[in-house]
């Protein structure tokens, strides 16, 4: 239980879908889908190197996966996630009338990637703190300061603003940029984080 992220009480659950299922969907998304993001990003970047729409596709994959999960939560999740990603890439290639060699190659290579064993849970837990710290260190100083004041010192937006002598709106902006940057670092860059240390 301690290894799982805590989920705050939020309106999100109420709108997620039908009834008690909604909580289940959220747990599934957090526990099963998000840990695959690094691999998905790696796959997308390799398939459509340099393309500006990687984020669009990532979001599209989540959306379709979620719609499928509302009917029935896939078990396991990984094959369906990559099937959706692959289908989207094929559609995109057709639309653009370009089929890059890399795209085909990485789709073939994917069969190996899918079978990679998932890292041990205890390793994940140990990694977590280290990753968080690296993530924090990488934030621009102002963002980092705001995130630390919120997360470690538990200050409210107003208190942070008073202490730093900046407007509440600016604090909010730092925090929203901070959370986005943290999410990107946390869910991705597994390999980079490892090789850096």
């Amino acid at each position: 239980m301690a290894d799982r992220p805590d989920i705050d009480g939020d309106a999100a659950l109420r709108t997620a879908g039908e009834g008690a299922n909604a909580a289940e969907l959220k747990l599934w998304f957090v526990d099963e889908v998000l840990p695959l993001e690094a691999m998905l990003l790696q796959f997308l970047r390799r398939s459509i190197a340099g393309a500006a729409d990687v984020e669009d596709i990532r979001q599209d994959v989540y959306m379709r996966l979620y719609q499928a999960a509302r009917r029935q939560i896939p078990k396991p999740t990984k094959p369906l996630l990559f099937k959706i990603a692959r289908d989207l890439l094929v559609d995109r290639a057709r639309r653009q009338q370009i089929v890059s060699i890399e795209a085909i190659e990485s789709i073939e290579a994917l069969n190996f990637a899918i079978d990679e064993p998932a890292p041990d849970r205890t390793v994940i837990a140990r990694e977590e703190l280290r990753r968080l710290q690296i993530a924090l260190d990488r934030l621009p100083p102002r963002l980092r300061q705001a995130v630390i004041m919120r997360k470690i010192e538990c200050l409210s937006t107003r208190e942070i603003g008073m202490r730093l002598g900046i407007a509440d709106k600016t604090v909010e902006k730092h925090l929203t940029e901070g959370v986005r940057a943290l999410a990107n670092i946390l869910y991705r860059e597994t390999t980079e984080l490892r090789s850096n240390s």
Partner: protein, 328 residues
């Protein structure tokens, strides 16, 4: 939701920025109104892309709570953690000392701060408070507690509601929780304290803690709690029972905003829901009240439970604006 409409959503970066904005405002607590909650609900319902973006950031933000496990390392990286902020203050103190030569004026700054801070949540609220020593307190619905302390002792007084304590044990600084006439002294531990009217319940999840009455009376003596122990203190005394793991999980289910029932009498189910919702469940008739209910439910969605009661349990359900009446 119409899939075509969903594909016409805004650019991903915009969605993510909006989601982050909602999250930060929602988590700040201050200034978050019912109207904001409704607006957030509406935004999330608009597209599953919104929902995915929100959940994704929310999870990262919650994971970052673990950061408070490493304040010292963090401040070594040039960050304004508590220890670091002291330096400019110390410098100022030294200046004051040089001017007035008053040792007493300086001494104030070296004493640990004894500020008391009150944290609270409204009905349906949930808040995590990270203390400077690395301990964490999670407040459940409708809860208020006061945190104070000095160099030797950290005090938390639970005024109402329920909280989950994850305490970073420090032998030279006792962590004491006071609730309804009972003191819980940490011996390295995770536990839940729930303060209902006339009754305090302490469930020990990990480690150990000592439970003792606030007023030393001849009859009551300290009880050492071990994992799985649930102590219930009333004005008549303290009773101790041992619960299986499943019960512990269920006792902590509110941390995930779930209520987990396992053959729980409907009357008690209603009570649980009523802690989280302004719209109250009322169960009429002994046969209905004693009926056993199982399953996982969202704490804040009483309407879903009412539907289940009607459709699955075959009970009679009447919905009014302020309450839902269930009978057989």
């Amino acid at each position: 939701m119409d899939p075509m409409r969903e594909c016409e959503t805004a650019a991903p970066a915009d969605i993510e920025a909006r989601a982050a904005d909602w999250l930060i405002r929602r988590r700040d607590g201050a200034g978050w109104r019912e109207a904001d909650r409704l607006a957030l609900d509406a935004w999330l319902a608009e597209s599953s892309a919104h929902l995915m973006a929100y959940w994704r950031l929310e999870t990262a933000w919650s994971r970052a709570d673990r950061l408070n496990a490493l304040p010292k390392q963090v401040s070594a990286n040039g960050l304004p953690a508590r220890g670091r902020r002291l330096f400019p203050r110390l410098a100022r103190t030294v200046a004051v000392l040089a001017l007035f030569g008053g040792a007493l004026a300086g001494a104030r700054y070296f004493l640990p701060r004894v500020n008391a801070v009150t944290y609270q949540t409204g009905i349906g609220g949930h808040r995590i408070v990270a203390l400077a020593d690395g301990s964490k307190i999670e407040l459940n619905t409708d809860t208020a507690l006061r945190v104070s302390g000095d160099a030797r002792q950290q005090n938390v007084s639970l005024e109402k509601g329920e909280a989950y304590f994850q305490i970073r044990h420090n032998p030279s600084r006792q962590f004491v929780v006071v609730a309804g006439g009972q003191r819980i002294v940490d011996l390295g531990t995770k536990f839940v304290v729930r303060d209902d009217i006339n009754r305090v319940q302490v469930s020990l999840v990990e480690g150990s803690a000592r439970l003792e009455p606030l007023n030393d009376s001849a009859t009551a003596r300290p009880v050492l709690l071990r994992p799985g122990d649930v102590a219930v203190a009333t004005e008549h005394g303290v009773s101790l029972s041992r619960q299986p793991q499943a019960m512990m999980v269920s006792a902590l289910s509110w941390r995930r905003d779930l209520l987990i029932f396992n053959n729980t009498p409907l009357a008690q189910v209603a009570e649980e829901f009523n802690r989280y919702n302004k719209r109250k469940l009322v169960v009429m008739g002994d046969d209905a009240r004693s009926m056993g209910v199982g399953g996982n439910f969202q704490a804040d969605n009483v309407a879903v439970f009412a539907r289940v009661a009607q459709g699955v349990l075959g009970l009679h359900v009447e919905s009014h604006s302020g309450e839902i009446v269930i009978s057989r």
